[in-house]
């Protein structure tokens, strides 16, 4: 798949739903949404009886974390990454190794795994500064492949093809997640917090600088925005959230093995943003949920799954380049537009 051919975020010529952003009017709603989402994920964790579907829901929550992270890298700052599986693997393996070999608590191992992902992101982000578009996509793709090869070949560290098993530890001393609903609650809350953090980043001065760099790096730098700082920061944020998602996944499924962390995972995470919509963190959320549940829903048609998946991706890129989120917004803005037209229509 050629990532650069996918819809780049927020092309200015596309009709998007709202040319005016009413920040003040939506403030109350936009704060109430967070407690509402927390209640929702807790209710889902307690309310879904079917263990199988609850596990899928947890997977979706984990992918939401990885996808909102990549939203910062790709959606906000316009950098294509096809190496998110690499960061996901670093988060997962670091956590797994620290728990199984050094007996760390899961919480501490997770924090260290996330930090290491961020540091590796920094190490990859700085030399990749000069690259953009296809070239950056290729460099990150190469990074993902290197990590995948290390997972298989450094048997002394990673356990090779067997991976690491039995990653079981209390989060912090004395507090252990035992059941799937426990995990669903914990990961759900982390996912909501992740989306919250990313929306705060979007509306911060750093987030605006990222969008400025994406829309015109020449204009941004000639006003004093440091391209290198902004781009590396966006890249590291993406790596950190991918690492967090990987670490949570390791704890939830209790094992890591190299098969999980291949190119298709990186492509899927990127596709979540494209399908959901790169213009908003909610696009990433929707994309992550849709693309996690889709294979499960399509399970009865097994061999046609990839075909349907491919067609869906094509349809979105061709007919809804703003993704599902932008479709929602367009539909949502129709009544208002209709009223405006009706009002002005009376006079003409």
């Amino acid at each position: 798949m050629n990532a650069s051919k996918l819809a780049m975020p927020q092309s200015p010529t596309l009709p998007t739903a709202a040319p005016v952003r009413r920040t003040r009017a939506t403030t109350l709603v936009s704060w109430l949404i967070w407690p509402a989402l927390l209640v929702l994920v807790i209710a889902l964790a307690q309310g879904i009886d079917n263990n199988y579907w609850l596990q899928i829901a947890v997977n979706a929550e984990i992918m939401v974390i990885a996808a909102v992270g990549l939203y910062v890298t790709f959606g906000l700052s316009g950098q294509v990454s096809l190496g998110q599986a690499g960061f996901y693997a670093i988060g997962g393996y670091t956590t797994g190794l620290l728990v199984t070999t050094l007996g760390f608590d899961f919480g501490l191992a997770l924090v260290l795994g996330v930090i290491l992902s961020g540091l590796v992101g920094l190490g990859l982000g700085i030399p990749s500064l000069r690259l953009r578009g296809n070239y950056l996509a290729l460099a990150t793709l190469g990074f993902g492949q290197v990590v995948a090869l290390i997972l298989v070949n450094w048997t002394w560290l990673t356990g090779g093809a067997n991976g690491i098993r039995n990653i079981v530890a209390p989060i912090v001393a004395g507090f252990e997640l035992k059941t799937v609903p426990d995990w669903a609650m914990f990961i759900g809350v982390v996912a909501v917090l992740s989306v919250f953090v990313v929306t705060r980043i979007k509306n911060s001065s750093y987030g605006r600088a990222m969008q400025a760099v994406r829309d015109s790096d020449v204009a941004a730098s000639s006003m004093g925005v440091s391209l290198s700082q902004v781009k590396v920061l966006a890249f590291v944020v993406g790596a950190i959230f991918a690492g967090l998602a990987g670490a949570l996944n390791a704890g939830f499924v209790t094992y890591v093995s190299p098969g999980t962390y291949d190119l298709s995972l990186s492509v899927t995470i990127l596709a979540m943003i494209v399908v959901g919509g790169a213009a908003s963190p909610w696009g990433a959320v929707i994309g992550a949920i849709v693309l996690t549940f889709l294979p499960e829903v399509l399970r009865p048609v097994q061999e046609y799954y990839l075909l349907i998946y491919g067609i869906l991706l094509l349809l979105v890129v061709a007919f809804a380049p703003g993704g599902i989120w932008n479709l929602f917004r367009l539909v949502g803005s129709l009544p208002a537009r209709f009223r405006t037209r009706a009002r002005t229509g009376d006079q003409s």
């Binding site: 975020p9 927020q10 200015p12 010529t13 998007t16 709202a18 040319p19 005016v20 952003r21 009413r22 920040t23 001065s205 605006r208 600088a209 969008q211 400025a212 994406r214 829309d215 015109s216 020449v218 204009a219 941004a220 730098s221 000639s222 006003m223 004093g224 925005v225 440091s226 391209l227 213009a279």
Partner: protein, 239 residues
């Protein structure tokens, strides 16, 4: 009068193609200087060289007395050398107010100073205040040009470089925009280096001018003198 910008024997090239072949020019404090010339004469490239978007092959650039030839664009911008690039380049997905915010945080403006500065920009360009919550891709060409200039002024330039501000604007709006710049310069002592294809308009609003042809300066002098110069009239003023 001291010079805010001194360019000496500047040579710039894109790969093997030399675009600027030894340009020497200066801008004094508070002066509005225009650089005119045909398409492809190297005017825009000269501006890009000054702000470090194109690295010089040879020659030197001094800004406010310091050699800045190897400085990065964003460093220069934070130290008072700001370019309004050709084609305006507003940040399409951000609102007008957010566009100004980006410039403000990049130049470390906070609190009361920031509020006063934004007030000032809205007073110069009232239209921007009316449209402050509009996404900037929905602005008209003229409004986008105002936003691009307002954004640059927020960064508190000592020298403002403008690349073709009249491009794509109606003649009336182009005149307004260019006159606005020279008025602002007079009122605030801001130095301006203006690149224009519309030579008549540019010279009418400037103190001095340089004429550029195929990468070299071929004429220079006070704007009024250039307007009367036969060669310049024939080549660039159409009379």
């Amino acid at each position: 009068m001291t010079n805010i910008l001194e360019i000496t024997d500047l040579v710039l090239s894109y790969g093997a193609a030399a675009a600027v072949r030894g340009v020497t020019m200066h801008v004094a404090e508070g002066e509005v200087v225009t650089l005119i010339g045909a398409n492809g004469a190297g005017k825009s490239t000269t501006l890009k060289g000054v702000v470090g978007l194109v690295k010089p092959v040879s020659g030197s650039i001094r800004f406010a007395g310091d050699v800045t030839t190897t400085r990065r664009t964003d460093w220069l911008a934070r130290h008072g050398l700001n370019l309004v690039p050709e084609g305006r380049r507003v940040f399409a997905a951000l609102t007008v107010a957010e566009n100004l915010d980006v410039a403000a945080s990049a130049s470390n403006l906070h609190g009361a100073a920031l509020k006063a500065k934004i007030r000032e920009i809205y007073e110069i360009f009232p239209r921007l205040e009316e449209r402050r919550d509009s996404l900037s891709w929905t602005l008209s060409g003229g409004e986008q040009q105002m936003l691009a200039m307002g954004r640059a002024l927020i960064a508190q330039p000592r020298l403002l470089l403008l690349d073709e501000p009249s491009l794509g604007l109606s003649p009336k709006l182009a005149t307004e925009v260019v006159q606005l710049i020279s008025r602002y310069s007079r009122d605030h002592g801001l130095s301006v280096l203006l690149v224009e294809q519309n030579a008549r308009l540019a010279l009418s609003a400037s103190d001095r001018g340089y004429v550029m042809e195929t990468g070299r300066i071929v004429a220079e002098g006070p704007a009024a003198e250039l307007q009367d110069n036969k060669e310049v009239r024939r080549a660039y003023l159409g009379s």
